[in-house]
């Protein structure tokens, strides 16, 4: 940042500079930078394999970078109330798009997830998560503060609608993330402990249910349990990539898994990073994610506003869980789950939606004094 602001600067940007969490911004920028490097490392091999120009994916990703950064910083300027409004509108729009998806979307790899809007293909399921997190937080917080208000029912109903729409696609992974957001917020909003235990027990039932209802979930589990099968190829290859990389990696451009992994630039991008730059880079990425999540939690720990706490927590759960699921899949700690690594994997929708979500986190975790930003 070449622009500096005086402490006494009371302009919008000046106040923003002094109240926003600059450490989180720095961490996010680092993530984006690592993502850009890894996209350049991994995606040319994939692009060449599918017959596109080498830098096809790189160019497309970089096209989204600037808008994503602008969206993130722009959203971080909003007050909590503006964030809430934007989320309500965003959630409604996302739900409409989700309803349109089964009708209009093209089937890619067995699922209908992408919509073509004005020449851009977008994935409504990426946008619905942060919007839901904020709206649900509002509902839970209102219910907590006014027992007469049926906020929990509304939040749960919204969860049911969105989850149903995601399962139609089918997108079990996003449903799981959505469930985690809803569950965590409910938990933070004072869910009776007996129900916490009940939901904890329900989770395995949901997983078992998904296993039997969705064939691709079943095959992923089977591959996890029996990695010798040919289907576990991607994960097994990813593991050997980490092994090849060792501590400091084989060096930029020296990786080999990107030549054979179909999803080297998306779900398995960390394996490319591990092979070329070593476990050092991977641990750095983990630390960045952990830092952003825990730093966010620590900021809202001092927060007095329940809505802000719940909304931020929901957004961070989404962000952190997505990262954990991606990395754990790649490392064969859990069945392979098609989930992008936030800000690092290739994918425009994912990038813009995450920028929106993290922009909201930045907005909500700005230092506020008293009721500042909550009115108006």
């Amino acid at each position: 940042m070449s622009v500096t602001f005086g402490r006494t600067d009371t302009s919008v940007l000046g106040r923003w500079w002094w109240t926003v969490d600059r450490w989180t911004i720095a961490a996010l920028f680092l993530l984006v930078a690592v993502g850009a490097i890894l996209t350049m490392a991994a995606s040319p091999a994939v692009a060449e394999r599918i017959g596109a120009q080498s830098f096809h994916f790189v160019r497309r990703q970089f096209v989204f970078l600037a808008p994503a950064v602008i969206i993130m910083l722009g959203v971080s300027l909003l007050t909590p109330k503006q964030v809430r409004r934007m989320a309500v509108i965003g959630l409604l729009a996302s739900i409409v798009l989700l309803i349109l998806v089964p009708v209009l979307a093209v089937e890619i790899k067995g699922s209908k997830r992408w919509l073509n809007l004005a020449g851009m293909s977008i994935q409504p399921s990426e946008f619905v998560k942060p919007m839901f997190a904020v709206v649900a937080a509002w509902m839970f917080a209102s219910a907590r503060l006014d027992p007469a208000f049926p906020g929990r029912v509304i939040a749960t109903a919204l969860f049911g609608v969105v989850a149903a729409l995601l399962l139609i696609q089918p997108d079990v992974g996003q449903t799981a993330i959505l469930t985690a957001i809803w569950g965590t917020q409910f938990f933070l909003a004072g869910l009776p402990l007996i129900l916490v235990v009940g939901l904890g027990l329900a989770a395995p039932i949901g997983i078992v249910g998904a296993y039997y209802v969705f064939p691709h979930v079943q095959s992923r589990f089977d591959k996890f349990l029996d990695p010798s099968g040919s289907g576990a190829y991607q994960v097994t290859t990813a593991l050997s990539a980490f092994k090849n990389g060792g501590v400091f990696g084989r060096g930029p451009g020296e990786g080999r898994v990107k030549l054979v992994l179909p999803d080297a630039h998306t779900d398995f991008i960390l394996a490319v990073g591990g092979e070329e730059f070593g476990v050092v880079l991977c641990l750095f990425v983990v630390m960045l994610f952990a830092f952003i999540v825990l730093r966010g939690f620590s900021r809202i720990h001092k927060e007095d506003n329940l809505f802000v706490v719940l909304a931020t927590a929901g957004l961070l759960v989404q962000f952190g869980l997505q990262a954990i699921v991606n990395m754990a899949s790649t490392l064969r700690m859990m069945p392979a789950k098609g989930m992008t690594l936030p800000f690092i994997s290739y994918g425009g929708s994912s990038m813009v939606a995450l920028a929106l979500g993290m922009g909201m986190v930045l907005a909500l975790t700005r230092t506020r004094y008293g009721r500042e930003g909550m009115e108006a």
Partner: protein, 588 residues
């Protein structure tokens, strides 16, 4: 949880409403309670995340750095090739030389329906196919491809090059079937023993047929008793004789007299198992095991051994051969009649029919029959081949049969029976069933005592004398003490014996002081040549062939030649001794 103070404002959607209540920094009870619960649970959530990130990081280090043996099934299946699995086990000789093996091949077939469905121009497809596989007939190929059948074979056992070329044509509806093909690297060399398989890879003759199931179950090569070097020598020499005497065929065998193992078994004419003739072809007939012949004079060995073993005579006993033997309207002559009494050894050396007949009559019909049975002449030997015939036994067995059997007529046996019986005469008197399978070292060798050791010793002396002083001189190999007996049997034709159609055989063993191997060379219908001065008898035809075989195989089999006496001359009179030099035991 239940401390919900009544709110002074109406219920609404505005989470921020509470902020408007009361003084700016004062939190009311409800909000306080809610935020406190949230905070403590927030710490739990944060800890869960911390643990999860920690686990991911630990796993990264584990996979990348600590785990030295990561799961690597992705690299292995590509590098590993499947072990070649064949339907049939290989066949080798006793030294491990491959006699029969299997190679993977492909056969070309077509699905005419598919060609039709793909709208293939049958004629041009056939022309292109014949260009690659010139063995195919164009007309026939067109006919096959356009037939309405679901499946037609076009060509079996394509070479890899042909496979590639046909594949390159890219004609739809042509398909390949994986299979395997039996390969016989030595061609006809051991064809009668090894046998042959049919187009479906099923054994139809020889060892291939006899061990059909065993070879499909085992992966281990089946080791024959045969020594391919000995086999080669026997076949070469037999073929030379058959050619030289314009014979119709012949058979030659070598047997280890101590174990019954056959080191060579040749029957000419033979065939190439890689391209076998129809089963009815004469070349498919194994004379060695399936042809039953009246053996003629070689049978006198058994006759003599019988007389000696019964104690009716010793080698110096004399029998009246002064005049032809007349018996029941038949007159028995000698070919080279001496017209005097002859000793047992003279009878054998000069091959006297009259003397042999008198010896047999002395022993009696029953004793002869019992002896012939003991020595294996009355039953088919249990050799491991489907093509083993039994003898033709006279029935009833009268005295006249006793007389003719004494010199090898009236009882037809296979060359294999003759060889196995002779082996028992020289090896000390034990009969070993002949075998084509290599005996493992230490295997118990089944043996039946059929002669007294003394009788066997006498037989060795007599057989040696036949070679040194009798009809078998041309079989001698200096240094290897060959012993044997000639046999020239007139073959029975329509209306009696045919003078000019004979079976010439020489049965030999060596070295006679401690015999190791028995050799039989038999030439079917040899024709006289200038070199034999018009003779077709065994001494001129089969005996030299046996001598040539022994001269080559004895050194090959590791037998050390005896030291020969230095011919007497002026300078070395003192050293020369009659009756041979120092005897050296045979060494392996």
């Amino acid at each position: 949880m239940s401390i919900f103070a009544p709110r002074r404002h109406t219920p609404g959607f505005h989470a921020g409403d509470d902020l408007q209540a009361g003084a700016a920094l004062r939190l009311d009870g409800v909000r306080m309670q809610a935020i406190e619960t949230g905070r403590s649970r927030l710490v739990i959530t944060a800890l869960v995340f911390l643990l999860a990130f920690g686990a991911v990081g630990a796993r990264m280090v584990d996979v990348a750095v600590i785990d030295r043996n990561p799961p690597k099934p992705h690299a292995q299946p590509q590098a590993r090739t499947d072990e070649l699995k064949m339907e049939r086990a290989d066949i080798s000789d006793r030294t491990g030389v491959l006699l029969a093996s299997s190679l993977p091949t492909v056969s070309l077939f077509a699905r005419p329906e598919d060609l039709k469905a793909a709208k293939v121009d049958i004629e041009s497809a056939a022309i292109r196919l014949v260009a690659v596989l010139p063995e195919l007939d164009l007309e026939e190929t067109i006919e096959r491809l356009s037939s309405g059948r679901q499946f037609v074979y076009l060509k079996r056992n394509l070479t890899p090059r042909q496979h590639y070329d046909v594949n390159n044509l890219g004609i739809p509806g042509l398909l390949f079937q994986k299979g395997e093909r039996r390969i016989y690297p030595h061609g006809p060399l051991a064809s009668h023993a090894v046998g042959v398989t049919d187009v479906d890879n099923k054994g139809v003759a020889g060892i291939e047929k006899r061990f059909e199931n065993a070879m499909r179950e085992s992966r281990e090569p089946l080791a024959l008793s045969m020594d391919i070097r000995v086999q080669t020598i026997v076949r070469n020499e037999l073929a030379r004789s058959v050619e030289e005497f314009s014979a119709v065929g012949g058979t030659g065998m070598v047997m280890d007299v101590r174990t019954g193992e056959l080191l060579a078994m040749v029957s000419l004419p033979d065939f190439d198992p890689n391209d076998p003739p129809p089963p009815t072809d004469p070349s498919m007939f194994n004379r060695a095991t399936k042809g039953a012949y009246e053996m003629g004079s070689t049978f006198k060995l058994f006759n003599t051994a019988m007389a000696l073993d019964l104690g009716k005579a010793n080698i110096n006993s004399s029998f009246d051969a002064s005049k032809p033997l007349v018996f029941g309207g038949h007159t028995i002559h000698d070919d080279h009649a001496l017209n005097r009494w002859m000793t047992v050894s003279e009878i054998l050396i000069h091959s006297s029919n009259i003397g042999s007949a008198r010896m047999a009559l002395d022993a009696g019909t029953e004793a002869q029959r019992a002896f012939m049975s003991r020595i294996g002449m009355l039953q088919a030997p249990p050799l491991e081949l489907p093509e083993v015939a039994g003898p033709l036994i006279p029935s009833p067995w009268r005295e006249i049969n006793t007389i003719t059997i004494a010199f090898g007529h009236g009882l037809s046996v296979t060359p294999l029976q003759l060889l196995a019986g002779t082996a028992a005469l020289v090896n000390g008197g034990e009969y070993h069933a002949p075998t084509l399978l290599a005996r493992a070292p230490g295997d118990a060798i089944p043996a039946i005592r059929v002669l007294k050791p003394k009788t066997s010793e006498n037989m060795r002396q007599l057989m040696r004398m036949v070679v040194t002083d009798g009809t078998g001189k041309k079989a001698d190999v200096p240094g290897y003490e060959v012993g044997g007996k000639t046999g020239t049997a007139e073959k029975a034709g329509a209306g009696g014996y045919r003078k000019k159609a004979v079976l010439s055989s020489f049965i030999a063993a060596f070295p006679m002081d401690a015999p190791r191997y028995a050799v039989l060379m038999m030439i079917d219908e040899p024709q006289a040549t200038k070199q034999t001065f018009g003779f077709i008898t065994a001494g001129w035809t089969a005996a030299p062939a046996a001598g040539r075989v022994i001269a080559q195989i004895a050194p090959l089999l590791g037998l050390m030649p005896k030291t020969l006496p230095i011919p007497p001359s002026g300078a070395s009179k003192g050293i020369a001794r009659t009756g041979g030099g120092r005897e050296v035991a045979a060494v392996e």
